[in-house]
Structure formats: structure tokens, C-alpha cells
Amino acid sequence: MSLVELRDVTAGYGGAPILKGVNIAIEASDIGVIVGPNGAGKSTTLKAIFGLLKVQEGHVTFRGRDITNAEADRLVPMGLSFVPQEHNVFTSMTVHENLEMGGFTRSDDITGTLDEVYGMFPDLAAKRRQKAGELSGGQRQMVAMGRALMSKPSLLMLDEPSAGLSPRYMMEIFEQVARINKTGVGILMVEQNARQALAFATKGFVLASGQNRFTGTGQELLDDPDVAKSFLGG
């Protein structure tokens, strides 16, 4: 049984659908990466899983349970977590409060998880009383990831975590993602920097125009000349 699975999902914001029958499946051990040209429906796929837009046809399951069009406040306690691409921190709140909000749905003690997150991102520990809006782009991305980890997810979804970051931060983020995955958290992320992302993905999905174009392990896709030609810029 897959951790999360999309079967023939058609979804959109009303009007013409953006996803037209997308299939994706991820295990808990996987780092899944969705790549493809702009407008292919990559981010839309994540939003469809997280109930942020309407799934018109098809099904989304999480550990075998149907979560099609479930609301986020139900999904987070189940173990799903999502880091949006933009506006992914509470700018007027401190780093610490941002993390607390990540653990909002938990009724148990969150201090242990807080320490883990600070251990994972030492930069943040030093700035815990600072407003998130005053941080640099890379630090914000860490706050956003830390917030998403506070709910102790078993599936972490990231929408272009490297967007707008300098190469140093990008590497750091990718390394953290790989490390998080090793603790048993399934990863599903969307990336523009397709090569780097596919290089460490266990599963890659190339979408175009709202449909699956190629699926395989990251290495298979990198080696596929068709993929390289159309989507990796030769």
C-alpha cells in the first residue's frame, strides 16, 4: 500500500481543469520529485492532494484511506504536511511562533519536536525571537520546512523549495530533505531545478499540460534522452 497515491486525478479552480488524469504514487521511503515546464500542473498536483483546490475526478488516498477533497485541518493530524512555494511563513510572527503554529494540531507536548527542528536548522535556533519577515530567503525556507515538520508528518510535500535561493542554500535544503527522508518521512516535491532534484530522487514524475509524460527513478529520467531534450534544456 502506497503512502500517498493519486489515481486519474482531474482537478482545477473551476473552469477548465489543470490536471487531466494524473497518476502518482509514493512510498514512505521515497523522495518523489515532480518536474515539468511551467503551467504543467506541478504545484496543482500538491494542492490537489492537500485539498486546496477541487478534485473533479479521480481519487487521492493516503495509506489506503480516501482523502479526496479532505480539508487541511483533517489532513495535518493524519500526517500530511505541505510547504507552499511563496508566502510560506507568518511574517509578523517570531520564528518560534511559526514553529508553534506548525504544531497547532498536536495535543501532546511539542517541545521535543521543537528541539529536533532547532537541531536540524541551527541558524533558526539563534533567531527564534526574531520576526520571520525579517529573515533572508534561505532562512525563511528553513522556517517553512521547520513549521511543516512540527506536526510530525509521515509525508512532507514541498513546492519548489529552492525557488529564488542561492546555490549554497539550495544544496543545504536538498541535503536536509534527504536527511528528513531517512527518518522515515516520505517526500513529494516540485522542482524547477530539475537536474539537481532528479539526481537524488527515488521517483521522478515529468508532467506536461496536466498529464503524466514520463515516470521512473530519478536516474532513469536523467538518462532518458527524450526527457533531457524536452525538459532539461538539452
Binding site: 495535518v76 510572527m93 497547532f104 494540531t105
Partner: protein
Amino acid sequence: MNDFIFFFNQVVVNGISLGSVYALGAVGVTLIFGILRFAHFAHGDMMTMGAYIAFVLASLVAGLGLTLPLPTGFVVLPFAMVIATLIALGIDKGFYAPLRARGARPVTLLIASIGVTMMIQGLVRLFGGVQTRSFFETEPKGLIRIELPFEGVTRPISFTEPQLLLVIVTAIAVFALHFFLTRSRLGKAMRAMADNADLAKVSGINTALVIRVTWIIAGSLACLAGTMLALDVSLQPALAFNIVLPIFAAAIVGGLGQSYGAIAGGFLLGFAETLAVFNWAVLLRPFRDSFPDWFEIPANLALVQSEYKLTVAFVILVVVLLVRPTGIFKGASS
């Protein structure tokens, strides 16, 4: 010295009272704007409605013939706030929630709040009548005078009991709100949603619950502000509708969505109004001997005539909108 006490009684006491009412109202407006992203125009009438609820409860209690150490209208306030809160939740469920569910634009909700304003006004006048009433028909309004132990000072510092209570409850409400927003889980969730509603949702925050809490706070603060205003002046159907615009001005001047800004804006406007209509000639009189003979102190040196008191708020509002549209504290944008 007497003249300075006059200044104190006229400006400081009135400024604080008016500022407190504005602040309590503006906090409600700003919270609703922060969470629901629309200008809730019916807020002033929710204040009036709250005052009428308190009035009815006070009449019932007075009918029991109890004598209380504090004004009856003040004692029944907690009960009135509960009722007003329930009504506020009902209004949201009946009139705003369906529009939100449809994804209506904020301006549609603003127009809907005009409809709610009219309904409340109609009902208040229907059941409460159009005449002016007083909470102090059956009991005296306490007056506090503090004689200063200086030589030649004949005029005491004076303010009324409701004014004192108003300042106390405003301070308590502001501190309670501060602790709620910064310390409690739900308060932080509210700030989170005001900051970034989509991300709050993604974090698993129950946004419907936050909206309910917002109405509970806004509704009870509106009832508090309305009742305290009615205790201070008098109760009439147009009580708060007349000050809903200064309240909005206070919220905007403070930066819409900013609770502390709203409090600051409220006091700023309260003082601006009382200072603008104060007759500054009073303060010049003690020095009349030191002026040359040809200089005659004009009888009235008020910056604006008292008829234009309310327009002071709008002038400040318009200037703020022109110079710094996000308010003195940076406001949320919709």
C-alpha cells in the same frame, strides 16, 4: 492653576474616555478585518445593540429592587456581552458565512454589512423606541471629585464613575487581549490567520473556529464599548452609528489588522477631537497680566468649532490615507 485643572477635566478626562470607546470599537473592527478581510460596517450598530441589551437587563435587575455598589448597567455587562456575542455569531452565520462560502469579494461583504446595519437599526428603534434613555433614571450617577491640597486651588479634578469604570475596563480588556493574542494557542492561531490565512489553513488550523472566536471577541468588545459609552453619555438609537466613522478612522489610522495600532489610533483620535474643540484662551488667561495692554485674549481660541468635532477624525483620516495609506502602524492589505 484652576485653569489647568479645567484643562485636565475638559481634555484629559474626556480624551481618555472618548479614546477608550474608540479603541474598544476599533479593535473589533480591526480584528474582523484582519481575519475576514472586509470592513465590517455594522460594528457601530453592534455596539448600540449591546448597549440596549445591557439596558434591558439593567431594567430587569432594577425591577428586582436590588441596590448595588456599582451602576446596574455595569453589573449586568457580562451577561449582556454573552447575549451580544451569540447575536454576532448568528449574524455571521446568517449573512456573511454564505457569502464567504460562495467566494464573494470583500466589497460584497462590505455591502452586506450595510444591510446588517440597517436591520439592527430598524430593530433597535422598533423595540427600543426612538427616545433618548439613561441608565441612571433610578439611581444617581456617581461623581468623583479630587480636591488638590494646594493654596488657591478651588476647582477640583472631577470625573464621573462611569468614566472611571470605562478606563479601568478598557485597560483590562486591552491587557486581556494582549495576553490572549501573544500567549494562548488560539490567540496565536488568530494572529497566524490574520497574517496569512492560506498558510494557517495549510498548518491545520481550524479556520472556522478562528472565525467564530473573532466574532466572540469583536461582539463582546462591541457590547462593552457600547454600554460604557451609554453609561458615560446616554442611550439613544443613533448612539454608535454616529461614532462608527471615527472608529473606522481609528482602525485605519492605526493600520487595519493591527490590534495595537487600533488602540493607539483610538486614543489619538479621542485626544485630537477634544484638543481641537478645546478653547485655548482658557490657558492664556492666567498670563493676562504679562501680555501688553493692546493684546486682548479672544473669547474663543478653539481650533475648530464644537459642531465640527466629528469631522476632526475624518480630516486626520484623509490626511493619513494620503500620506501613509497603510496607517501609522503598517496595516494588512486585502
